[in-house]
């Protein structure tokens, strides 16, 4: 394939890029328009440009604090999922043990639980153990779907690393924890980047669970958006501005891990 880029490829990319961006640009266009203009009439280009919606977002504590809440619990979740999943993924990729295959599939099944099933029990349990409306609570709840995914991704990467490295390190007198931290982790840097990205992404976009187990102190930005909608009519402009801003943290994360994705991974065992 090399650098020889065929014209149809470029066409596919451009067509896709345009369809991808149109709804996003439309949202951005809405965010810089006053509400009367949005609902008043259809126009391709905003007649009057205003940044009031963004100003409102950053001066109203309900908005910016819930934005921070989302960033906090999402980051906590990504780190916690990663820490828990790393040893497990190593075990799955290196050892055979009683029930390993069943355990692996069982982990995956938790990603399949319809969230609506868990809402009520989640509410009761998190209230009972005092995790209700805390960042830690949401971070733990989101481990439900992120830990299995993290194990899955990491295991794929780790299986691609030759076992001889482990054995050589053992002969050289490295203990397992020391080998893991000083040799193995740097080798799977890209896996860690990719895993963090996917965990961040799935936790950031989830709304149902996060909304159910929070009320004020850890309320996610997405929930603030739905609640403000019903308050005094729909403030489309502000909603669009918030929508634009919710893309920013994820875009930053993907910018940092882009090289790891570009390097490629094939995920050995599934």
């Amino acid at each position: 394939m090399g650098d020889r880029r065929l014209p149809w490829k470029r066409t596919v990319l451009w067509l896709y890029g345009i369809t991808l961006l149109l709804p996003l640009l439309w949202m951005f266009g809405m965010s810089i328009r006053p509400n009367q203009d949005i609902l008043g009439s259809f126009s391709l280009i905003p007649q009057r440009v205003t940044f009031d919606n963004y100003v409102t977002f950053f001066t109203n504590s309900v908005w910016y604090s819930s934005y921070l809440n989302s960033i906090i619990y999402t980051s906590m979740n990504a780190v916690m999922s990663l820490v828990v999943a790393l040893p497990a993924a190593y075990a799955f990729s290196r050892f055979r043990f009683a029930g390993d295959k069943h355990l692996f599939f069982w982990l995956l099944t938790n990603r399949m639980a319809p969230p609506a099933v868990f809402l009520l029990p989640f509410f009761q349990i998190y209230q009972a153990v005092g995790l209700f409306d805390t960042h830690l609570g949401v971070a733990i709840a989101h481990m439900l779907f992120n830990v299995p995914l993290a194990v899955w991704i990491l295991e794929g990467f780790m299986s691609g690393i030759p076992r001889e490295i482990d054995e050589t390190a053992a002969i050289d007198g490295y203990s397992l924890p020391r080998f893991f931290v000083t040799i193995f982790l740097p080798m799977i840097r890209s896996a860690i980047g990719v895993t963090l990205f996917f965990c961040f992404m799935f936790s950031w976009v989830e709304l149902l669970i996060a909304r159910t187990i929070t009320s004020v102190d850890a309320k996610p930005i997405a929930a603030t958006m739905t609640r403000t909608v019903s308050a005094a009519g729909v403030d489309w402009g502000l909603l669009a501005a918030a929508g634009v801003l919710t893309i920013v943290p994820g875009a930053i994360v993907i910018w940092f891990v882009r090289n790891y994705i570009a390097k490629g991974f094939s995920l050995g065992r599934v």
């Binding site: 040893p87 990603r111 609506a116 099933v117 029990p121 830990v147 976009v205 490629g264």
Partner: protein, 330 residues
């Protein structure tokens, strides 16, 4: 071990040829078995070590807390008729029977299955096509990666809101263009087919990037010499794709298919925001129906039974996918 040493001894005793033959057969069989076992060990060089359970323990504990305990609560709901917190009656499998016979649930099940099938048929080929088209090196790699990933990073209700506006025939660009540029009558709040198409288009827009990213990462893991060899052999672009790229994508595509199936089968937030399940119940998928029963009517018994059947259905389909996909092409 002892049997094997006993075999030549038996022959030395001068038994009949018939017996000797049978023993030779058995020996050959055993040898074949041993070889098969060895082959398996070579194919799966992981060491057997049950202490690995210690490494898996944190995952098991955390998933038990987030999944098993709530699941048990749901099982508890599903076998009781709950009138009030202190007043409940054990009803056995009654709810399971009534839910599985409910025509509304069955219709929603068929609808959801159809939706998932369409999602997979559209998103997997489109995602792979996109991944093949994305540049392999240069400045554009970063730009395309970040752009393609954008829809994945938007909270699901925001995705719903974006499309709710975008597809509106009066103030949304998409709906307006279909009506005025293509000249088709399109209104997703009134017409069932239009609503379905809107939700499907939204899902394709939202989730094709996931397939594309995974497939792209899979493609990048193919070493360059493979492509050089194909070029020397004069393979066409299609042949290169079919015989070099596609087989190497099996791992990532399995994940992509499973993830897309699970998430599309459980889709809730986006269609809820856009259509609310309507018009009529044209887009009321299983999850929308379920939350109507659980949160709207607060019928915990039926909702619990419904959830468990739902969960079971997802698992069965995933297991079938999982088994089929891991066996083909190996």
């Amino acid at each position: 071990m002892s049997e094997r040493t006993a075999a030549p001894a038996g022959q030395a005793d001068g038994r009949t040829d018939d017996q000797a033959d049978r023993r030779a057969d058995r020996r050959a069989e055993r040898r074949a078995e041993r070889q098969a076992e060895e082959g398996e060990r070579r194919a799966d060089p992981r060491r057997r070590n049950n202490r690995a359970w210690l490494l898996v323990l944190p995952v098991v504990v955390s998933v038990a807390f987030t999944a098993v305990i709530p699941l048990m609560t749901v099982v508890n709901f599903s076998v009781q008729d709950i009138f009030s917190p202190g007043d409940r009656l054990f009803v056995g499998l009654e709810w399971f029977r009534s839910v599985s016979r409910d025509p509304e649930v069955r219709a929603a099940f068929v609808r959801t299955l159809l939706f998932s099938a369409q999602v997979l048929l559209l998103e997997i080929p489109l995602g792979v096509l996109l991944a093949v088209s994305m540049p392999r090196r240069g400045v554009w790699v970063s730009v395309t990666l970040v752009l393609v990933a954008l829809p994945l990073l938007i909270p699901w209700n925001v995705v719903g809101t974006i499309w709710q506006i975008f597809a509106r025939p009066d103030i949304g660009l998409g709906g307006w263009a279909v009506n005025n540029v293509l000249g088709l009558e399109f209104n997703y709040t009134l017409d069932a087919t239009d609503a379905w198409i809107t939700v499907l288009a939204m899902d394709v827009w939202h989730w094709t990037p996931l397939v594309a990213l995974l497939a792209y990462a899979g493609l990048r893991s193919i070493p360059d010499p493979y492509f050089q060899a194909a070029q020397i052999d004069g393979a066409s672009a299609w042949a290169t794709f079919r015989h070099i790229q596609l087989p190497r994508l099996r791992g990532v595509l399995t994940i992509a298919i499973l993830l897309r199936f699970m998430d599309s089968f459980m889709i809730y937030t986006e269609p809820f925001v856009v259509t609310g399940g309507g018009p009529g119940n044209a887009t009321s998928f299983l999850s929308i129906l379920l939350s109507k029963i659980a949160v709207g009517q607060f019928d915990l018994g039926p909702a619990g039974a419904f959830s468990l059947l739902y969960f079971l259905a997802v698992q069965i389909v995933c297991y079938v996918f999982f088994t089929v996909l891991t066996r083909t092409g190996r």
